[in-house]
Symmetry: none
Subunit: 188 residues, 4 copies
């Protein structure tokens, strides 16, 4: 095979897309993304069939990466609270470390052409996190609400926390902790 489709280039496009989306929003021209990735505008379409395809894949990759980061090193032997705390810490730390990814992910979340498949897959990636949360919810005051309600609440609290961590990086850890305690109060 001559000049195989390089994974590096694919990654470069995705990385460029993050940067460009953060700067210009979802309306950013594919040509700009291509230039930022250091390739010709047409080349983008060897790696992604359409702009929507690119955005779907990017969304999924970011979401998956985020979920993986959040789930890292969870010891199943630990207390539920410890597990939750670890997950929360992982999660918010990831956001603080990758503010562009986080922002792009937020924007992509409202991208009109996200596929049902993409959404489903993104949901799948969150399952491990959901499982842990679920154990906490089912014993507390939210026990009669739908599981998705609790997940969504955790999500929204996390988003808010992340915003503050990114805005005010000096107190990032503090914000993260405060956020977690708020979550825990909500759950218990």
């Amino acid at each position: 095979m001559a000049r195989p489709k390089s994974d590096d280039k694919r990654s470069a496009i995705l990385a460029a897309a993050i940067r460009v989306i953060v700067k210009q929003g979802l309306g950013a021209p594919t040509a700009t993304i291509a230039r930022e990735a250091g390739i010709a505008n047409g080349s983008l379409f060897t790696y992604f069939e359409t702009k929507a395809d690119l955005f779907n894949q990017l969304y999924l990759e970011l979401k998956t990466g985020m979920a993986a980061a959040a789930s890292d090193g969870l010891s199943h032997k630990a207390t539920l609270r410890v597990q939750c705390a670890r997950m929360w810490s992982n999660w918010t730390r990831w956001a603080a470390k990758h503010p562009d990814s986080r922002r792009a992910l937020a924007l992509l979340g409202v991208f009109g052409d996200l596929t049902a498949e993409t959404r489903a897959a993104a949901h799948q990636a969150m399952v491990p996190m959901a499982v842990i949360l679920e154990r906490a919810r089912s014993k507390g005051p939210l026990r009669n609400s739908p599981m998705n309600f609790a997940i969504a609440m955790m999500n929204s609290l996390a988003e808010t926390t992340m915003d503050f961590m990114i805005q005010d990086p000096k107190h990032a850890d503090e914000h993260s902790k405060v956020g977690f305690e708020a979550l825990w109060r909500m759950l218990n």
Copy 2:
């Protein structure tokens, strides 16, 4: 004369914009909004200098309306909890009653060309709500966090609650109550 021209038409455009944004997103053509408002495409620009201007004004109007609804009938004599509950109830009820406005507001919130002025004014509109929340925060576990953190958390919890109320209107009241209790736990 602060606002010459027909105020009716202005309102028609704003109302049309809500409907169109909900259906098509922020990328919706101004021509579509104009048609929906029953006016000629060019006329839209008699009332709003640019598309961005229209969106800024709409955002502000919606936010202000929402805040006004939330602050309605708050008795300063009542308990803090009662006041908060009333505000929460007003707020989420407004969203349940105006799902399009709520959705449009959410979309406009990520509109890239929102002015600093617009954001500031929107923030202002929320002050009365913030004041009440502030009293609760300052006595509880969030007492050492910035006020905006608490506001943002309340906001995100409210957003989530509203989503579920709109999604599942039969249990709207229930969701609203559960959401409030979660908030209250978070605050105390």
Copy 3:
């Protein structure tokens, strides 16, 4: 109505399309046609929804014009031969006078996106000519062949004749006459 859609402009676009198609073929950019018509590239699309639409309308207009020219001044009292001769003369003269239209028509005939409706309408325009030919066919050696066969043969003979008339304008009349006699022999 402000600045009503001018028929002049529509005609200018059609006329420009003829010229450009002759020079560049069906692949000619719409922008070139617009420039040739003296309007902005985007304006073309106020008059024709798509390039295909433009080409369909142009095809129909040319075909209709051609058929009308061919059918001009036919006396129903005259001999069949005289009528046929008149039609043939009208027809080929039209082509000789409007070589660009004729060429564009030929190219448009193989345009891949001609609508069934367009083809049907074009067919309709040819009916008056077909009627006359039909009377000749049904009495001669082609009486057992499908009517369309005779029409197609007349067509192809006419096309050939026109080519020669345009190529060699000095003997246009002579070519036309020779062509007609050939047709007549074929029919009788």
Copy 4:
């Protein structure tokens, strides 16, 4: 070495081009032709310098093949009418047998970038057929018209006949005969 590289591959490309042109028209991507030929898109350009080159060569090859088929088995001892009839029969039979080739040839005939050389060579290929026709023409009513006129007329009659033969294969032979008689009447 006039033609290095694999002759098989060259033929495969030409054959593929016929199929693709019939299905998609002259605008068909070279990449599609290459895929249909079972080679890589870039390889096409090892065999043909440009798309136009490919189309020119294909046109010539088809025309030559057609002319060869038409001229097959002509006995110079036979009557002029018999020779013409044989040629006509060969010719139209070829079309009926190779409808794709015939259709591609027709499309290529209006390809804008056919070279003068190609046209000349194609003309050359028709000479043997022209010679026979010429003998008929020079004695009949077309004796005062240019030879090319007669050739073109025969051509156009043949095209029409072929169309009907392909459209209505059950009566192909009949159409062929009727077409020939029409030609013969025209010539005499």
